[in-house]
């Protein structure tokens, strides 16, 4: 009986030793720092020289590399400054997806006294994946020219934002 008690005591010590077990794992962690997106404009949206028509006319410049100009009304599209779509260059981390967007759908151009409204048009594929080199985006627009619009040089500005998706 004495021997059995001794064995029991040993057994209890053993159990208390076994009751504590531990295991470890190695967790992994990753992060990807992107090169900041940069967007810059190196060409303006130009509607060129226009003679107002007998009624309000829309003058359209397409949102692409050619920047073709046309009108739906009686305004005369005459030779002068070459019409172009605005061009924006986007750089960033190759392989990352991003989207360009107009900050506002319209903008106002002015000769300092009177204004005209331009409805902006974003070019093809505003959502893309950076392929490593510069991505080029175009913005065209529709300029509404009232029949008796005052002569002058009209200017304005608009904003295009680029964000990673």
């Amino acid at each position: 009986m004495i021997r059995r008690i001794a064995l029991l005591t040993a057994g209890m010590l053993l159990v208390s030793g076994l009751a504590f077990a531990q295991a470890s794992a190695t967790g992994t962690a990753t992060a990807n720092i992107l090169e900041a997106l940069a967007i810059s404009s190196d060409r303006s949206l130009v509607f060129g020289s226009i003679v107002p028509g007998t009624a309000s006319s829309d003058v359209v410049v397409t949102a692409d590399a050619t920047g073709d100009r046309s009108t739906t009304g009686t305004a005369l599209l005459v030779t002068g400054a070459t019409p172009t779509a605005a061009r924006f260059n986007v750089t960033g981390t190759s392989g990352a997806g991003y989207t360009v967007a107009l900050a506002a759908p319209t903008t106002t151009i002015t000769n300092g006294t009177v204004n005209m409204t331009v409805t902006l048009t974003m070019g093809a594929n505003p959502t893309r994946t950076l392929a490593g080199a510069t991505e080029v985006h175009y913005v065209g627009g529709t300029l509404t020219v009232p029949s008796a619009q005052a002569t002058g040089t009209y200017t304005g500005s608009f904003t295009v934002n680029a964000n990673y998706n």
Partner: protein, 168 residues
């Protein structure tokens, strides 16, 4: 376990076998042999996702629940991110409770010797008890990543230890 305890255990089993059912209390000891194994393995890494460093320092925190919070001027595009997910398994039929030890911090290394600190590790608040039937529990771990001003662009990675303990 000391060698002395191991020898005692062998004697104990032998005594039990010799004496048949005479020592019901000894069965507990023998059962106790198989109780206390615990395992942990990672199924999914802690992923902070895609981040744009700002002009000043910032942080990105991933919570164990999988939410992401950004501070400072760091922008974080909505790409894949998420906490570490571990499976904790306790073998046997004993106590399903366990405790968890996480590191204070670790470092993620990136291109050209660039690095970022990760700290404030946090885990699933309710973790620490395996399911009594499956003997498993999923344990999520999040943390806070510190991004320096103008942090070098590129892929960063690192490791951290996590330890689980059984016992009362």
């Amino acid at each position: 376990m000391t060698s002395r305890n191991l020898i005692a255990a062998i004697f104990l089993v032998a005594a039990n076998a010799l004496s048949g059912a005479g020592f019901p209390e000894e069965k507990g000891f023998v059962t106790g042999f198989a109780v206390d194994g615990i395992e942990i393995s990672q199924n999914q890494p802690l992923t902070f996702g895609q981040i744009i460093a700002g002009w000043t320092a910032g942080t990105v925190t991933i919570t164990p629940e999988g939410l992401r919070a950004v501070s400072g001027v760091v922008q974080a595009p909505a790409a894949g991110f998420g906490p570490s997910m571990f499976t904790v398994t306790i073998t046997g039929n004993g106590n399903p409770n366990y405790t968890i030890t996480m590191p204070p911090s670790t470092t993620l290394n990136g291109p050209g010797g660039a690095s970022m600190l990760v700290d404030s590790f946090q885990r699933t608040a309710t973790a620490g008890k395996v399911d009594p039937r499956t003997r498993e529990e999923t344990l999520n771990v999040g943390a806070t990543l510190h991004i320096k001003a103008g942090q070098t662009a590129g892929a960063y990675s690192g490791t951290y230890p996590i330890t689980v303990h059984t016992g009362n």
